[in-house]
């Protein structure tokens, strides 16, 4: 019998369009199911509806059954202990400030006797290797460990079903991979049913049982990974959700029909096996003299390296930067860096290597302990924090965007805001007409520019929403637009792709690229190697408080075996210098 069963389930927040409609599907005990879809497609709403305690308030039709019983009639205790729910941000779920207290919290809630609590904590912390951290303060843990503690505090309740809402979106790739492999163990060794939503699925696709792709609150595809790949790759949106390995496969398939018979690869091992297949096949045909993908294009990318060294147009000049929060522990040890005008720089590095510290010092948010930074005269900087919420202080997105550019006296601007709000009340017509009216009020703002940005970042629909009600990706876009409205020469972005869905990521990347072409200098930190390789022109790898490598992405990553893009890991034997799908496409003419 199925553990979870949705029957004609619909959901809407009061007086709004349906967020979810006609959801019909079943999850069997012990299954590992992945939910995918653009932000706003209803993934989180589906997950939250399976958990009575936190289900969103709204109208629902149809029913969800848990273990044959209507989930709404589930006893509190059963629902709390058998269904575990993990949130996106590891930071916000903590109730207390130390690990032991946090793990014990859920058990204490259940009113379990002291001995039982200790037993369960002992077992679980040993399984996760957290037993050494029991008395640690939460703040001393890394992001991955934090999420592990959160997971642990659910597992001590012995759940049968785990609901995870983008659990790795705030983690760096390695921590994310560790976390996912723990989920896999839980699923395989304890047969815990897992339902997960996730944007980056390369690591998880190989071991899920089923994937469900959602679009606009409806189930678009729901099938096993291989089958769903075949269907999804026809769609322009969902194509981007597939693992790179699979996407390369489909690209090759269109050229080499012999792949039709081959298994659709989900992980790198399978992908490479297929590549070999083609390789051998081609060698056979062409008498083993020409293999179609000989590394004929072994372009040494030294020319591109020269490109940025020959331009003596420094915007920022860093001299011997040292920084530490506490005396004993140096974060940055003497960094030298020149930033040229119009560059797109990505700063990469593992967790805790000081990426955020470095970018904040570069932007002048913090002063280095030693050393100095010179900026070109009359240069304007803009900074976007990795948590866009830092930048929001207004009621609506519209206000948010107008306020930043109004650098007039305070009273003046507040008056205007009142007018704006009044305006909203009056005409509840489409917001497009709305902001045209606002343009008249903001005479000192270049309203064209603002509208361009709103169009560029697709913010029209969000204008009268509260910034906090927007999704993570949308918030990121708003914060970036807000920064851009100040017309900066240099834009600093701290982890701009955190928690953004693949399609928005492509859009963001293209937009940044476009801005860069118009002369903007962009410096970003990121964990996302694929994003850095695709869009940035210069990558800086931080290690041990210093710049380890500073070169083009190709030169930085192509030599690495692990710390490189999925595409590169897959095609390494044939195209060692290709990092992105685009490059592979060009090289193989597919």
């Amino acid at each position: 019998m199925s553990l979870i069963k949705f029957e004609d389930f619909c959901f809407r927040y009061s007086d709004q369009e349906k967020i979810l409609s006609d959801i019909n599907f079943e999850v069997n005990e012990g299954e590992f199911v992945l939910f995918c879809g653009p932000s706003g497609s209803g993934k989180t709403t589906i997950l939250a509806n399976m958990k009575n305690e936190i289900r969103p308030i709204g109208k629902s039709e149809g029913a969800i059954y848990y273990d044959g019983l209507n989930i709404r009639k589930l006893e509190d205790e059963k629902s709390a202990s058998e269904i575990g729910y993990l949130f996106q941000n590891p930071e916000d779920q903590f109730v207390s400030d130390n690990v032991l207290q946090e793990i014990a919290f859920s058990l204490e809630n259940m009113g379990l006797p002291h001995r039982e609590i200790r037993n369960r904590i002992a077992e679980m912390t040993a399984f996760f290797g957290l037993d050494k951290y029991l008395y640690k303060n939460i703040n001393e843990l890394s992001g991955g460990q934090k999420q592990l503690v959160n997971l642990c505090s659910l597992l001590v309740l012995k759940p049968r079903l785990l609901l995870l809402d983008e659990p790795t979106s705030q983690l760096d790739p390695i921590a994310a991979y560790d976390f996912l492999s723990i989920l896999r163990r839980l699923n395989e060794e304890f047969s815990i049913t897992i339902i997960l939503t996730e944007h980056k699925i390369d690591n998880i696709f190989p071991f899920i049982d089923r994937a469900v792709f959602l679009e606009g609150g409806k189930i678009k595809y729901a099938d096993k990974p291989r089958q769903i790949s075949t269907e999804a790759q026809k769609s322009n949106i969902f194509k981007n959700y597939l693992p790179y390995v699979t996407r390369i496969h489909f690209m090759l398939q269109s050229k080499y029909s012999l792949l039709d018979k081959a298994k659709i690869p989900l992980n790198i091992r399978e992908g490479r096996a297929n590549l070999k297949l083609i390789d051998e096949h081609l060698k056979k045909i062409y008498d083993s003299k020409i293999s179609l993908w000989n590394g004929s294009t072994n372009k040494t990318s030294s020319e591109s390296k020269e490109k940025f060294q020959n331009i003596p147009n420094h915007v920022i000049n860093c001299q011997n930067i040292w920084f530490a929060y506490v005396k004993d522990h140096m974060v940055l040890n003497g960094i030298f860096l020149d930033v040229n005008n119009g560059e797109f720089i990505s700063i990469l590095g593992g967790n805790g290597t000081g990426k955020t510290t470095f970018i904040q010092i570069l932007a002048g948010l913090m002063d280095p302990v030693k050393g100095n930074i010179k900026y070109k005269n009359n240069i304007k900087l803009a900074f976007v924090n990795q948590n866009p919420k830092v930048h929001f202080k207004e009621e609506t997105v519209e206000d948010e965007l107008s306020e930043s550019s109004l650098e007039t006296p305070k009273n003046d601007s507040s008056l205007k805001k009142k007018k704006l709000k009044f305006n909203f009340w009056n005409n509840n017509v489409k917001s497009t007409s709305n902001f045209k009216n606002h343009g008249e009020f903001n005479k000192n703002v270049n309203s064209n520019e603002k509208n361009d940005l709103i169009d560029l970042f697709d913010l029209t629909k969000l204008l009268d929403k509260h910034p906090y009600d927007c999704s993570g990706g949308e918030q990121q876009k708003i914060a970036i637009s807000k920064a851009l409205l100040t017309k900066p020469d240099v834009l600093f972005l701290d982890e701009p792709t955190k928690g953004i869905d693949p399609v928005s990521k492509i859009q963001l990347g293209l937009k940044l690229k476009k801005l860069q072409e118009n002369g903007l200098t962009i410096i970003m930190t990121t964990h996302d190697i694929d994003f850095a390789a695709e869009y940035s022109e210069r990558s800086i790898l931080l290690f041990d408080g210093n710049i380890q490598v500073d070169d083009t992405p190709t030169n930085v990553f192509s030599k690495n075996n692990f710390y490189t893009t999925f595409v590169n890991r897959m095609v390494k034997d044939y195209l060692p210098n290709s990092l992105t799908l685009k490059e592979v496409k060009q090289e193989w003419e597919i």
Binding site: K51, E53, I54, D76, E77, A80, S81, G84, Y85, F87, N89, E91, D92, Q93, F94, V95, S96, D97, L100, Q101, A104, F105, S106, L107, E108, N109, M110, G111, L112, P113, H114, I117, R118, I121, I138, N139, S153, L154, L157, Q360, A363, G364, L365, M366, K380, L381, A382, F383, N385, N387, K389, V390, H391, F392, K393, E407, K410, Y468, T486, P488
Partner: protein, 290 residues
């Protein structure tokens, strides 16, 4: 003390008794004995450097008390003339000194208490009686550093923006205040927003559906009974002594205190005994480790 586990309830009552006694006793001999024992305990506990921080705070305060009390209060019969007709009384001076001595003892007692009883043990004691309050304390302990961190982040951004966009650096007081208020608005709304998730996560883990238990558990062991017996016995004698006036001196209206009078009697010794058990345990521990 790591090797001897003592029920936190005993600690808490014991330290409460000490604080109370520091108030009640005002005989300098008793108080000085008290002080010496507490200092010894603190040094044995290995937090001798805390003495410095306490003194840094205490010295100016005691000076104020000692100076201010005779200046303000002219009660007492023994007059000391300073300038012309202006006098202070010996009683008020003595009272000030003894007051500040008591205060020092209390401060040190709390220092020692902080070392001995972790906040979790304290919560364990309170969570049975006041489960909600202890929950709030737990959450506050998590929230305060988070709030600080957020304030710091928002502050950085706001300073950065100011540097970038405003040419007039001089702001009036009113503007400064309104800026700070704006800053706080951002931090508070951000914190509230994140707290919603904390609340959800608490609910999702079944907070409030049953009476809470605690993962900490302390049982009364033999040593606890022995300690309780010892403490209550010496406490009883001390109280008897106090009712008869041992350990207290008369300050107002006329100071009645002679240093020739022998203080060593059963009541003095019982106070000494009351102060010794923790010192004894610390010494015992030191000996074991060596």
């Amino acid at each position: 003390m790591k090797l001897t586990v003592i029920h936190p309830a005993i600690y808490i009552t014991y330290y409460m008794i000490l604080v109370l006694f520091a108030f009640i006793y005002n005989n300098p001999y008793y108080l000085i004995t008290f002080l010496i024992c507490i200092v010894a305990l603190i040094i044995l506990q290995g937090i001798g450097n805390e003495l410095k921080t306490t003194l840094k705070f205490f010295v100016p305060m005691s000076v104020i008390i000692i100076l201010l009390n005779p200046v303000v209060s002219h009660v007492g019969t023994t007059k000391i003339y300073i300038i012309g007709n202006y006098f202070i009384t010996l009683e008020a001076l003595t009272y000030g000194i003894i007051m500040s001595l008591s205060l020092l003892i209390i401060l040190l007692t709390f220092t020692s208490y902080n070392k001995t009883v972790s906040y979790q043990e304290m919560l364990y004691i309170f969570s049975k009686r006041f489960p909600n309050i202890s929950m709030v304390i737990i959450m506050a302990l998590r929230f305060i550093p988070l709030f600080n961190y957020r304030l710091n982040e928002v502050n950085k951004i706001s300073k950065f923006n100011e540097k970038q966009y405003s040419n007039t650096n001089k702001n009036s007081m009113v503007e400064k205040i309104s800026k700070t208020a704006n800053l706080l608005v951002v931090v508070v709304s951000w914190s509230l927003e994140e707290s919603m998730i904390t609340a959800k996560s608490m609910k999702a883990r079944g907070y409030g559906i049953k009476e809470r238990t605690s993962y900490l558990s302390y049982k009364f062991h033999k040593i606890d009974y022995m300690l309780t017996g010892f403490i209550s016995f010496s406490l009883l004698i001390c109280i008897i002594g106090l009712t008869q006036g041992f350990g207290r001196i008369e300050i107002y209206p006329t100071l009645m205190f002679s240093d020739s009078e022998s203080t060593v009697n059963i009541y003095y010794l019982s106070l000494l005994f009351l102060l010794l058990p923790l010192i004894y345990l610390e010494i015992k521990e030191k000996l074991i480790w060596e």
